[in-house]
Symmetry: C2
Subunit: 344 residues, 2 copies
């Protein structure tokens, strides 16, 4: 059918215009701006059909049409590509990220960059502990019975925890534990460390065992707990830009973004780890985000023979967002971050 093609063209035009103007778009404006070679009346028929299918809706009788969540879905899936960035933009990303001095700085710069580029709220997950490996375990005596454990991962992340040992630990034992912990754990994936060190205490003298047990237990606990990973947020001020229909829209979003758990779910629920994932409006499981869309993608170290995803990043914005542009920005930033991480 010829009309099916045109209907989709109309949908695309509606989405584009609505995103640009923020106002319901009518049949006349449509034929004027997009040089479809037909009359408004014809468009109206197509619009009626689109509305029938649930892809667009009108706020009230005799207002223009507005895309529904489902309409955006079709737009994203079938009508829009990912808009690649211009070379200058790419250069800007690269130079900005390359200035970072450590992992915190990389993540911090990334989140700010993303917020600024998309003019929306950006979310970046710290590189995952569970998928990365242990580079080194350090054991330090603070006092005879207080030990500090420091774990350093191959992504440059550092975790530390203080342990209260039941019995004092002398320097010799300390060095011993350090050495043996490292032989057991170094190079292992964090998820595998628990198994690797499980039998370690047995190889120590009985009177040393309680202290060693405490340390090992804390180590394992640290790795497990911290795999509830941290996320960084930036650009909340951008939310106020669409503050016309305020607090109803912004308040729940802000609240959602303050909940670590919700954030993690947002990032985690991606269907495909590799490609840019878009969740539109009610597709979000958290109801406060019913009016928001989330665009995410995995990023990670690429290069060691195949890409391995380490964590995710993305942005949160209103359903009426520039999907191609946002997806392009998110994807580009993810690639560059992955590259930076791989280098360090």
């Amino acid at each position: 059918m010829v009309s099916d093609d045109r209907r989709l063209a109309v949908l695309r035009a509606i989405v584009e215009d609505y995103v640009a103007t923020q106002e319901p778009v009518g049949s006349r404006a449509l034929v004027e701006r997009h040089h479809l070679g037909v009359s408004p009346a014809t468009i109206r028929n197509d619009m009626a059909a689109l509305e029938e299918e649930g892809l667009i809706a009108q706020p009230h009788t005799s207002a223009g049409r507005v895309p529904t969540d489902k309409g955006y879905r079709v737009f994203v899936d079938r009508l829009a590509g990912v808009k690649p960035l211009s070379p200058p933009e790419r250069r800007a990303i690269q130079t900005f990220l390359e200035g970072a001095v450590d992992l915190d700085d990389v993540v911090g710069r990334t989140v700010r960059l993303l917020a600024q580029m998309t003019r929306q709220v950006a979310v970046v997950q710290y590189p995952s502990l569970t998928r990365s490996t242990v580079r080194h375990v350090e054991v330090l005596g603070l006092t005879p019975s207080r030990i500090m454990l420091v774990v350093i991962t191959n992504t440059g992340r550092v975790e530390q925890r203080v342990v209260d040992c039941p019995t004092p630990v002398d320097d010799e034992l300390l060095a011993d534990v350090r050495a043996r912990l490292n032989t057991c754990a170094a190079g292992k994936r964090l998820t595998d460390v628990a198994a690797a060190v499980a039998l370690l205490p047995d190889s120590f003298l009985p009177e040393q065992r309680p202290a060693v047990l405490a340390m090992v237990a804390t180590l394992v606990e640290t790795l497990v707990e911290e795999s509830e990973e941290r996320v960084l947020l930036s650009g909340t001020a951008n939310l106020t830009r669409f503050g016309h229909d305020f607090p109803d829209t912004v308040q729940p979003v802000l609240e959602a973004l303050e909940e670590q758990v919700v954030l993690m779910r947002l990032l985690g629920e991606a269907t495909s780890p590799e490609h840019v994932t878009v969740r539109i409006g009610h597709e979000n499981t958290f109801e406060g985000l019913a009016g928001a869309s989330v665009v995410t993608v995995g990023y990670g170290t690429v290069g060691y023979g195949g890409s391995e995803e380490v964590a995710r990043l993305g942005v949160v914005g209103p359903t009426r967002m520039d999907y191609p542009g946002t997806m392009g920005a998110v994807r580009a930033v993810a690639r560059y971050v992955g590259r930076i991480l791989a280098e360090s």
Copy 2:
């Protein structure tokens, strides 16, 4: 003068009512709620005098009066005390904070707690590096020419940085550097470390010197740079609660809060380190915060013979806030955090 006393009482009543109702308060309502034993007309005279002094103002002719920034200032300085918390509240603080497992957790819990208690935006500065001391420096070889430095402070904070050395470094040299760095730096205040390690490279063999120099330089740089300290933020959703006169009020505040620099200034500009400091409206140097008040206080380790301030925390809210209550909450939280930090 007897009337001077009453005038202040009127000011207090106006502030309290306005904070409670968010609406301009008139002479009639005043005499009804606060049983001042005089007639509205008398109050009106007092109000006229207060307005003369610039302590209150009326939004338009024939509306009630609203406190000015200057009025709040007088209220805070002369009329209001710090409202102590109830014992149950104190217990709640304590148990909540005691559950923390490491420094990040302490700071994270603190900021969330403060936001929740005051129902405003909370800001907590990480315990300062510059005022704290080095507990341990760890030097790790990642590859022969890539070294990772890890600094652990007495507040439990960890900073790490990767160094690219001009020449390869073998394990022996590594151990040597580690040992000597620690003898030089351990126990020193971070600000003094630069001086303490300045001469260190000279004691190494000429061919080792470049590598050692690189490490020392990075170490010093880390300590200096990171003393631009980090701050944590929570409760931005609370801003929407007074969203009546929206974006104009909230937008600049959100923007200000995203700027690390502004945040640091906010916390840093306190006049007195020990006591709760309140900056009201235009007293804030950042103009985006002209409609906001900032309540801050220093916190730190107490106990080692005298209290030493380590960092600051506080909240940001509208000028029309409950000052006594907010000040009480801020002070109480600061005390408990200080105690927790001292213990660990």
